[in-house]
Symmetry: C2
C-alpha cells in the first residue's frame, strides 16, 4: 500500500468510523457470542500472500463487530466510561504517523515538552497546588501513564525506595531485605484491587483500613492502625487514598489523612481515577481539598474527559523521587535531559481536546445538565398541579427544593411524587433540542 | 465537532499524514531546538472557549514539527527502529473508534479473542514449539504487552511467585521475606537495562553473567556462577537470555543455557526484542533453536515487523503461571473468562498487517535484499575487472564469496576492494526500480 492508496483507504476508514459512532445506538451494546466464537471464523494461519483490503473490511463486519462490547453505546453502563471524542481520534491519527517513542528528550523533544506543558494546563484547570506544576523551574510536575494502576505501582515503588534510604540513613547496619520485610502500605478496604497488586509486586505488606458508613477512610481509624503497627516494629511508608471509589464513588477524608501522613513520613498518593475529571468544575473542586498534603496525585482523563484511552495523568511533588527510584544509565540512552518510560505522543490528544472544547466546554460536558433544564422541569411540575415545590439558588445553580411539609405526608406520597418528577424529567430529555 | 465535521477533518488528516510520510526524507531527521523551546510557543493555560481547528493544524506545523525527531526518516539510525505501515495506521483508526478496554473477555470478546488468535498466527510464523500455541486446548499462549521491558518484569514477577511457593512447599517455616532475600535473577552483562530494573522492582538480587568475545553468555560461565551462589545459600530463580543485544545484536547460547535452567528449576525468559522479527525467515530461524527450553519468550513486532508501537508480543508455556501470580477478583470484574491487564484493541493492527503483506511480504521486508540484487552486483564487479571473485549457493541464497587468495595481498588491497564493492552496491541501490 503506497501513500496514494492510503489516502483512499484512509478516507474510507474515516467514513466507516463516523458511521460507526453516529449509529452506535442501533447496535446491541453487549455481544451475543460464546467464548471461542472468533477462532472458527478466520483461518488458523496468516496468509502466505497478501489478502485483498476489501475482504479485510468485510471481515471487520463479519468477524469483529459481532463480538464487540460497544463501550461508546449510550446503553453502556458497566465498569467506568472510556472517554472518546472526534478531536482525540484526529490527534491519535497524527500520533500514529509521527510514530516516535518518547523515552528521552532527544528521542523527540516535542513529545516530551508538549506532555509537560499539557500536564501543567490540566493541573491549572484542577487548581492543583503550585508544587505540582512544572512551570519552568518547579521541582514537581506531571507525566502521562497508561493506567491508574500503573501510577499506583510507580508511586509505591518510589515510596519504597525513599523509605529504605531513610531507614538505612539512621540504621546503616540494616539490610534492604530486612527493611523491606517491615514496610507496610495502607489503603481503604474499598480501594481498587490494583493497590493490593502494586504492593504484591513491590513485595511490601499491605493493610486495608476499615471505612465508615459512607465507605470513606477517616483519620481516627488510620491513626489507630498506625500506632499498633509501629508498636509492633513495622514501618508504615505509603498510603493510597481514593477519591471516588470504584464501587460507590466514596471519598476518603484526605484533609484528616494528609497531615497524619506528612507527620509520619508516609507517602500519600491520591487515586482519583474516575472522579478526578469533575474537579475542573469549581463547584466540585472542594472534594479535592487536602491535595496540598499529597506526594502524588493521579486521575484518568481517559475515563471522563473526552480523551481516548490511554491517558492517565499523574503529578508528583518532587520529580527527583521518581527519577531516583528508577534511574539506570546505559550509554546508548545517555543524553542530556533523559527521562524514562517509553511512550507514544499521547499529549497530542490532550492538546486537541483542550483546544477544541475549551475549559468551558469541558466543564459543560462534566455538568451535562443546565440551569435552564432545571427551570423547565420546575415549570412543568407547577403546570401539572399534581405536587407543589419551590426553587432556590445555591452557588449559582438553580436547585429544586423538595421539602417534606405536611403532617399527612407518608412514604406512599413521597414515592408517588418521585415517580411524577422522574416521568416529567424523562419527557423533557426526550424532546429534541432539550 | 459532529460526525459530519469529523468526516471532513478526518479526510484532511489522512492527507496530512500521507504527505508527511511521503516527504519525510526532506525533513531534518534530528530537530534543531533547545530544551524548553516549546513552552514559549504556546499559551500557559488551556483556552476558556474553543479554539479554531484550523489554528490547531497550523500550530502542528509551527510548534510540533520543528521539535520532532523523525523516527521514520530514512536517515534515522539511532536506538532501534519503530515500525510503521499504512495498514497498521488504518487499523489503529478503527481501534480508536471502537475504543474498548479489553481487560476481560466480557469487556470485549472480539478484542480478547483476536489477540489470542493473532499471537497463534505469529507464533506459527516463527515456528514456536507447540506448547506456546494456545490453539483451542493449549496450556500456553501469547499476549500483547506494551514493551519488552514490561514482558521482562511480568515474567520475573511470575517466576518469583513460583519460586516462593516452591521453597515454601518444602520449607513451610520460611517466611516470604526470608525467601525473597535469597532469590537471585541472572542476565547477560550485555542485557538491556530493563532487566536490572525489573529485578529492582521485584526486590530480587540480580547478577550479570560475563560474556565471551562475541558478547554472548554461554553455559559454562553460567553454571559456575550458579554453583557458587547455591553454595552460598542463595536461590537462583530466573534467567533472562537475550537474542540480539542492544549494543551489538549478540545471541546468548540458549541451547546450552536452557537445559541448565530446566534442571535447576530456573525460569528461562528469552528477550528477542529487536532480532525476533527475523525468525519468520527460515534461514534465520536456527538462531532461535533452544526456545524449546524457555518458559517465556518475547519480541517486538513494533520494532521490525511493520506494526506501529505498541505491540510487544509475549508467549508463555503455562498461562496459569502468569494468572496465578497476579490474580485478584473484585466483584465488579468477576465474570467468566476473566483476564487481567487493560489493553486497547491492538491485535487489529497485527491482523491488518499480516493480511495486507502476507507471510511472504513480511519475509521480503526482513530480507530487503534479494538474490537478484546479489547477482547483479556480481555482474557489475566482473564487468569492472578491478577485482575478481566468484559466487556460491548457501541454503538457497546467492552468496558472493570473498576469499583472500594471493600471497601478495595485504590489508591495503582488501580495503581498496571493499571500497570498490560498496561503491558498486551504492550505484545499484540508487537506480530506480532496483
Amino acid at each position: 500500500m503506497d501513500a496514494e492508496e492510503f489516502r483512499r483507504r484512509g478516507m474510507e476508514m474515516v467514513d466507516y468510523v463516523a458511521n460507526y459512532l453516529e449509529n452506535i445506538e442501533q447496535r446491541p451494546v453487549y455481544p451475543d457470542v460464546e467464548p471461542g466464537y472468533l477462532r472458527s471464523l478466520i483461518p488458523t494461519e496468516a496468509p502466505l500472500e497478501p489478502d485483498n483490503y476489501d475482504d479485510i473490511i468485510k471481515d471487520v463486519d463479519r468477524v469483529i463487530m459481532p463480538g464487540v462490547t460497544h463501550w461508546h453505546s449510550p446503553y453502556f453502563f458497566a465498569y467506568f466510561p472510556a472517554a472518546t471524542s472526534y478531536p482525540a481520534l484526529l490527534a491519535d491519527m497524527l500520533c500514529g504517523a509521527i510514530g516516535c517513542i518518547g523515552f528521552s528528550w532527544a528521542a523527540s523533544p516535542a513529545c516530551t515538552e508538549l506532555e509537560t506543558v499539557m500536564l501543567d494546563w490540566l493541573g491549572k484547570m484542577l487548581n492543583l497546588p503550585e508544587h505540582f506544576i512544572a512551570g519552568t523551574h518547579g521541582h514537581g510536575g506531571g507525566v502521562i501513564q497508561s493506567t491508574a494502576s500503573e501510577a499506583t505501582l510507580v508511586t509505591l515503588l518510589a515510596a519504597r525506595c525513599k523509605a529504605v534510604r531513610r531507614v538505612q540513613a539512621s540504621n546503616p547496619e540494616k539490610s534492604e531485605a530486612e527493611i523491606l520485610s517491615k514496610l507496610v502500605a495502607y489503603t481503604s478496604e474499598q480501594a481498587h484491587c490494583s493497590v493490593e497488586r502494586a504492593s504484591l509486586i513491590g513485595g511490601a505488606m499491605i493493610k486495608k483500613v476499615p471505612t465508615d458508613n459512607n465507605y470513606a477512610v477517616g483519620g481516627d481509624m488510620f491513626k489507630k492502625m498506625l500506632e499498633e503497627d509501629k508498636a509492633a516494629g513495622l514501618i508504615p511508608f505509603y498510603f493510597c487514598a481514593t477519591l471516588g471509589t470504584t464501587a460507590s464513588c466514596a471519598f476518603d477524608r484526605i484533609t484528616e489523612l494528609g497531615p497524619i501522613c506528612n507527620k509520619e513520613n508516609i507517602w500519600m498518593h491520591i487515586d482519583a481515577a474516575y472522579a478526578g475529571s469533575a474537579f475542573i468544575c469549581p463547584e466540585f473542586r472542594p472534594l479535592l481539598n487536602g491535595i496540598e498534603f499529597a506526594d502524588s496525585f493521579n486521575f484518568n482523563p481517559h475515563k471522563w474527559l473526552l480523551i481516548n484511552f490511554d491517558c492517565s495523568t499523574m503529578w508528583v511533588k518532587k520529580r527527583e523521587d521518581l527519577i531516583g527510584a528508577f534511574k539506570m544509565e546505559p550509554l546508548y540512552l545517555k543524553h542530556e535531559n533523559q527521562e524514562s518510560g517509553k511512550k507514544r505522543f499521547r499529549s497530542l490528544k490532550m492538546w486537541f481536546v483542550f483546544r477544541m472544547y475549551g475549559i468551558q466546554g469541558l466543564q459543560a460536558y462534566i455538568r451535562k445538565g443546565s440551569n435552564r433544564l432545571n427551570e423547565l422541569l420546575l415549570k412543568r411540575i407547577t403546570k401539572s398541579r399534581e405536587i407543589h415545590l419551590v426553587p432556590c439558588q445555591l452557588s449559582g445553580r438553580f436547585v429544586l427544593r423538595f421539602a417534606i411539609c405536611a403532617r399527612t405526608t407518608d412514604s406512599r406520597h413521597i414515592q408517588q411524587a418521585w415517580r411524577h418528577i422522574t416521568q416529567l424529567t424523562f419527557e423533557i430529555l426526550q424532546e429534541p433540542n432539550h
